[in-house]
Symmetry: C2
Subunit: 308 residues, 2 copies
């Protein structure tokens, strides 16, 4: 799957993943109205609204980008009905040829981590049958519990030719509270990055590992340092756009071959119609606005990489 | 809710939480057979089996302990159907008067952490209605992302009079990889504990905070140190029994008032019938075996605390 992701990035010339994080206030009114007319102002109605919203987005951008990254929290907030919309979104995006990065940030120990891995990127046994509960291609994993927490994901991914992105340096303002603390002169995030490089050796694709890292666009100087620590690990870069990361900040995350990183944008794309820049599209054409925002992001990244 | 938990611990003289982590191989054959006869060897059948298994356990132990801690990974592995069993289990345990500690180990940033908090311990708005997606009383939270990740949970908990347990020092063998690393001579877990104490001041109950910590029973000497760093924070202690923690290891986690900690046991109780000690009950009476295991654990803890 990492080989497929790299190939698609090269073909489309777009190291871009669209974050499908459907906050209810992003969903245009006409979609909310239709969903509530059918199911009432209920959790089921909310699930229908975010699913229809996502469907429109996927239809509009699936030929431009290699992958989408649904953020499961935005679905989980609506309970079971929200998670059904998450499941449907993943299935539909897969049908449309997109790679699915489940932004689930799970992490536990031993058999519990195995259970998460089985549920999201593996198969669960029921009697003599095997089923996929959810079916992402990659998931994000929290490293705080150490190798015991991460290894079970890698074991399941090895069987499935799927992968993970481990949180290394997150994009938020307070990420430094623990992640930047110096341990024998080296920040914690670098120690985690060294482990990612090591874990990654266990599950290699052609040029890159199935084990990647999450490093926020908001910390470009750390991106440069971490690129060196993890030369063969793909870096998933959140924080572009709404969180303040600019195209010119992103060059350090890439290798000289122009590969090695995939940049996420969520609200900058899916809620583009709310920005002045794309206001002309209007809420009815929110998906066209998203498509234009992807094209603009692609250009911004191309310029950043040419000038590298 | 922390006041209610403390009160129940005192009344029942049982600082015990039963971990409802239903691995399929814990579920007695007669329950699996009945569930599969009704729904086939499907995800729905698996969901039904773990729900029936849990129901039996809750019926058998609800008058002995203050709380249960369902581990969501064990449900999530069966996808939507598993999560429906999780939801049903929480509802039923609540009906039976138990406090629900959702072991979800979530953690993200800003609006995403808010979404998790809303989904598990808060209420989500749909049009002009409010709903609870899931409805736990406490949840476990991963601190790797810093205050940005934890604060949104506390904000929601303040409105709801609910609480969280933040991972400080986990019970697994490799927990030291990152958590024990020294930062200016102090291990990372202690730094996290200091933050927990600080976050906890924002949301106090009568004697204890609504913000607690997770510290593994497998590290009693760290328990003693952390008890001092977080005098007003309840400590949720996993790792008793199957993971190697003994009653005599647990005294350091408690305050002098005999309060301040709640000890989790999962498979040691819910799969007690599989141990030689409780084999006489047989799989048909797995719930009676669980009840006896709770009584034995209660005695073990009482002895440990008397000798403190």
């Amino acid at each position: 799957m990492i080989n497929q992701l790299v190939k698609k990035i090269e073909e489309l010339k777009a190291p871009i993943v669209v974050g499908l994080d459907p906050m209810m206030n992003f969903v245009p009114e006409h979609i909310q109205k239709a969903a509530f007319a059918e199911y009432g102002e209920t959790l089921k109605g909310a699930g229908e609204a975010i699913w229809q919203y996502n469907k429109g987005l996927i239809d509009a951008i699936h030929d431009l980008v290699p992958a989408v990254k649904p953020q499961i929290a935005m679905y989980e907030q609506f309970g079971i009905e929200g998670l059904m919309a998450f499941h449907k979104t993943c299935e539909y995006a897969k049908e449309k040829g997109l790679v699915i990065i489940g932004d689930i940030k799970r992490g536990d120990i031993g058999s519990t981590s195995t259970a998460y891995a089985i549920g999201h990127v593996g198969q669960v046994k029921v009697g003599s049958n095997l089923y996929r509960g959810f079916d992402e291609d990659f998931v994000t994993v929290n490293p705080y519990l150490g190798t015991d927490g991460v290894k079970p994901f890698i074991d399941v991914c090895k069987e499935e030719k799927k992968g993970i992105f481990v949180l290394v340096k997150t994009s938020n303002p307070s990420s430094g509270e623990f992640q930047d603390q110096l341990i024998s002169g080296k920040p914690l995030y670098e120690l985690v990055a060294e482990k990612v490089a090591q874990w990654g050796e266990e599950h290699m694709g052609d040029a890159y590992s199935y084990v990647g890292a999450v490093v926020g666009a908001t910390y470009p100087e750390m991106g440069a340092a971490l690129r060196k620590v993890m030369p063969k690990n793909y870096i998933l870069v959140p924080g572009y756009g709404a969180q303040g990361g600019k195209g010119s900040d992103l060059a350090p995350f890439f290798n000289k071959d122009g590969l090695g990183a995939i940049v996420n944008s969520s609200r900058g794309i899916i809620a583009a119609y709310k920005q002045d820049k794309y206001a002309k599209f209007g809420p009815e054409c929110y998906a066209d606005a998203a498509r234009q925002a992807v094209l603009d992001m692609k250009e911004d990244l191309e310029n950043a990489l040419v000038n590298k």
